[in-house]
Structures are given as C-alpha cells and as structure tokens.
C-alpha cells in the first residue's frame, strides 16, 4: 500500500461518512454543509487520478455554485431550518433494494473492468488540458455535445427566469 492508496482510503471513508450525514442530519443547513464535504472529497479523488481540470472544475461548479444554490434554496423555502417529520417514508424498502442492486452492479462492473493503478501513472507528463481543449471543438470529437450544452444552458436559464419571476408576481397580488 503506498501513500496515494492511504489517501484514497481516508478520503473514501470521509465521503461515505459525510454522505450519510447529509441524509441523517435534521438541520437543513447542516445537511447542505455535509454535502459540500462530500463534494470536496470527490475533488480529492479527481486530484488523485491526475484529473487536474476536473478536480478544479468540481470545486468551481459543484462546491462554488451548485451548493451555494442549495443553501440559498433552503433559506428561501423555510423559516425553520429544522425538519421534525419522520425520516423514512413508505417506499424505503424498495429504495434500499434498488440502491443495493446498483451497488452490486457497480461492484460487478469494477471487478471486470481493466482498472489498475497504471491508469493514473500513464497520464504523467501529458498535456491533458490541451487535449481536452482540442477535443471540445474538434468536429470528430465533442463539438456537437459542446454546442448542445449551450442549448441546455439556454433552456435552464429561460426556465429559471420564468419560474422565479412568475412566483414573484403571485406573491405581489
């Protein structure tokens, strides 16, 4: 076991623990904060995989923007930040079954996939960032998803403006 494996193990434990806290804590803001810890843990995993760009983008987009949105949304919707209701609803056995099935499926996939520690080492010294930039706009790689992404962003933007501003008019009446 080398240093990176130890770091991986500790980070994975942290991720699992904080993810559990997200669903078990009764304080909504605390749940959002534990979610941020989970997301930061994923950042460390990306960094371990030498995925520099993804690691930093994970922080910029998920921690810096989406989690902020969560916190704003919590403050927007409730006055009391505490949740007093039951923590399980009727469908929980089914949900547990499905998550177990997904977990088993992932495990089976990982056992058969050619993943090894060589994957991370082989990227050393390569210009992954430049390759990513090239692939984003080159016609035989990801140019179509790239342009479609902008349509998706446009739809989200218009939807957000429409929903938020209409809600405001209702509260004015």
């Amino acid at each position: 076991m080398d240093a990176s494996q130890i770091i991986f193990g500790l980070t994975a434990l942290l991720i699992i623990f904080s993810a559990l806290r997200v669903v078990t804590t009764r304080n909504m803001v605390h749940a959002a904060l534990w979610l941020i810890v989970t997301l930061l843990g994923v950042t460390v995993l990306y960094a371990l995989l030498q995925a520099n760009f993804l690691a930093v983008v994970q922080v910029v987009v998920y921690v810096g923007a989406i989690a902020i949105l969560f916190i704003f949304a919590i403050m927007l919707t409730r006055r009391e930040m505490r949740d007093g209701g039951p923590q399980l609803n009727k469908g929980w056995p089914l949900a547990a079954l499905i998550s177990l099935a997904v977990f088993g499926g992932l495990l089976a996939l990982l056992y058969n996939a050619p993943v090894s520690e060589r994957l991370a080492a082989s990227l050393e010294g390569q210009d992954t960032l430049g390759a990513l930039g090239q692939a984003l706009v080159s016609p035989d790689a990801y140019v179509l998803p790239f342009e479609v992404a902008s349509v998706l962003l446009l739809a989200a933007l218009i939807g957000a403006v429409y929903v938020a501003l209409n809600k405001k008019q209702e509260s004015d009446k």
Partner: protein, 371 residues
C-alpha cells in the same frame, strides 16, 4: 519522496503564511496611514515611531477581548465560519510564482508553493469557496443584520465572480497556458499584458474590489445600514480572523493581478539576479495596494441595485466582448503580421467606452422614467 522535499513544502508553506500574517498587520497600518495623509491627518503615531507598533498593539488588544457567542447561535458553525473565511485566502496564494526557479543545496526550487498546470482555474475555485465563510457567518449568528449582510455579500461576490472569471480568460488566451509561471514568462517576450489588454486589467481590478468587498463596493460591511453585517456578532479573535481574511485577500489579489497583468516578478536584471524577483513582485503589490486604498478614499459607496447592475449589465458583457476581441487579435497576429496584436488594445478600448456609454444611457433613462 524524501525528507528534503517535505521540509521544502513545510518551509514554503510557513513562509507564505507568515508573510501574509505580517503583511496583514502592516497593511492595516499602511492603509490607516495612507488614508490619514489623503485626508490631511496624521494617522496612528503613538505606538512606536510613526505608529509602527500599532498593529502589535491591536493584536494584543484583540487577544484579550471577551469572545461573545449570541444565544440561539449555531455554535459549531459560528466558530467554523471565520476559519472557513481565512483559510481559502492563504490557499489562493499558493500558485503565485515569486521568482524564477533557483538552485539551492543542489536542488531546483520553484518559487511558488505549487505550480499547477490549472493555476488560474485553481485560483477561481478557491475564491468561490471563500463565499461560504460569509454565508455561514451570517446564518449562524441568528442576527437579522448578519443574515441580510451575509446574503447580500454572497450575492455580490457571486455576481462579480463572473466578470472576474472572464477577465481571467484574457491572460490565458494571450499566454496559451493556465500555469502562472508560463503566463509570467510569456510576458517577458510579449510585454506586460496590461499594455495589450488594458480594459481587461481594469475589469479585473474592479471585479476584485467587489469580490473582496472593498470600497466603493463595501456593501457587505455597510456599517450604517447593517451594522457591519455578517460579522456583527463576532468579537475578539474571531472578528480578527474576518479582518485578517479581508486584508490578506487584498494582498493575495494584488499579487495575482500583478502576476497576470503586470509582469509578475519580471523587471530589469531578474535574469542575472533571481533574488530581485520577489522584490519586484512586492513592489508591484504595494503599488496596487495603494491604488485600492486611494479608491477607498475617493469614491463613495455604490447603492446595491447599482452595484448588481454594474456587475451583470456592464462588466459581464464587456468582459465577454473583450474575450472575442482578444481572440480575434491573436488570430490576425498569427495570420497577417505580429504587429496586428496591437489591434487588441485599440479595439478593446473602443469596446469598453462603447459598452459603458450605451449602458450608462440605458440605466440613466430608466432612472428618469421612474420619477
């Protein structure tokens, strides 16, 4: 991984932290002195010669203050918030190169804590974490002013992060790399980027002022309206940490601005004597800091709706336009003639003046219509 490497990390990290701590202490003195001189006052002059011991007196006072925690406050988050505010600021400085690599004890030592190949994006990502300290401080205090101030401050930071992010794209486009070291070395051959992209540098400086919450964008700590806002309930050392975060952020942001637009550690003679590098960078930081203090002494605070309008309607579209102007200039320089690069400052100045003019008119017309 050998012991020398670990020592190198620890020493560099400690050096950075203590530089920022000392810088923070004497920046408060520098600001008070400069503001005083601008307003024809003396400024601190009791503790030590020229008041030089004033920061130490302040620190001692703050250590011996009582720490208050409001009732109903979320205690853990209340203590966590100042730490979450101050730590990202120190992390942000990690990628700034202080000079060319030097040879010491037979090993090459980079003059930055970490020279990441995604350095610029790393800075943006850490800056986006810094918002949390403010939101959490406001929320955990259980104080109306604090939560309002925290929300306002976070909305402001988030809005100006966009213009800031686009301003970061400009040096990357010009240098063709996100590594800060590459950006500096590229400036050695192309000239300082502030000459090629003056409007971009201006947008960067304005957006950073708003990002730090400095005057004239100091809505977050609008003393008169929100009684110093998100840190209303903080006292003693916890308050000192918020204060420290603000001032260290000024230093770090100035270091980043100097690196991206003002040639970083470059200056006459650096090739021959590498120890001149940190001195040049420090000199540039001090000049930029003076600029920030000067702005504070000159401009009144901007109203909150105006502040958001400036970020979303002026800086964001202008910065977007500048990215394309710069890209076009680079293309022309590559295809036609290297001298075509100078089309960038010309076009961007035109674009900047145009954008400000058009949008100013649009804003003003609305003001009249409302009356």
């Amino acid at each position: 991984m050998d012991a020398a490497l670990i020592w190198e990390w620890v020493i560099k990290a400690l050096f950075l932290i203590f530089f920022l701590l000392g810088g923070f202490a004497y920046l408060t003195w520098y600001e008070r002195k400069a503001l005083a001189r601008i307003q024809v006052r003396y400024g601190p002059n009791r503790a030590g010669p020229y008041g030089l011991l004033q920061p130490i007196a302040d620190a001692v006072k703050l250590i011996f203050k009582e720490e208050l925690t409001p009732s109903m406050a979320d205690k853990v988050i209340f203590i966590l918030a100042p730490i979450v505010t101050v730590v990202p600021v120190m992390l942000m400085a990690a990628t700034v190169p202080w000079g060319p690599p030097i040879q010491l004890f037979g090993r090459t030592i980079n003059m930055s804590v970490a020279d990441l190949n995604v350095g610029v994006l790393y800075i943006t990502s850490i800056a986006s974490i810094a918002v949390y300290g403010i939101v959490l401080a406001g929320w955990s205090s259980n104080n109306k002013y604090a939560i309002l101030g925290g929300l306002r401050a976070s909305a402001q930071m988030v809005s100006y992060e966009l213009a800031l992010g686009l301003a970061f794209v400009l040096p990357i486009l010009l240098a063709g790399s996100m590594r800060l070291m590459d950006i500096v070395t590229k400036q050695a051959e192309m000239g300082w980027f502030v000459l090629i992209q003056p409007v971009g540098a201006l947008i960067f400086l304005i957006a950073t002022l708003a990002e730090i919450g400095r005057a004239p964008f100091d809505m977050p700590d609008a003393e008169q309206e929100l009684s110093s806002s998100y840190h209303s309930e903080y006292s003693g050392m916890k308050f000192a940490l918020f204060f420290m975060a603000e001032y260290e952020k000024m230093i770090v942001i100035c270091a980043i601005a100097a690196t991206l637009f003002f040639g970083g550690f470059l200056g006459p003679g650096v090739d021959k004597w590498p120890w001149l590098g940190p001195i040049y960078l420090l000199a540039k930081i001090i000049v930029l800091l003076f600029l920030m203090i000067w702005v504070r002494a000159t401009f009144p605070r901007i109203r909150y709706d105006r502040l958001m309008a400036l970020g979303w309607k002026v800086l964001l579209p202008t910065a977007l336009g500048l990215v394309f102007v710069t890209a076009l200039g680079i293309l022309l320089a590559e295809a036609v003639n290297p001298a075509m690069l100078w089309i960038i400052p010309l076009l961007s100045l035109v674009a900047g003046v145009l954008a400000v003019g058009v949008i100013e008119r649009a804003l003003r017309r609305k003001e009249y219509a409302r009356r």
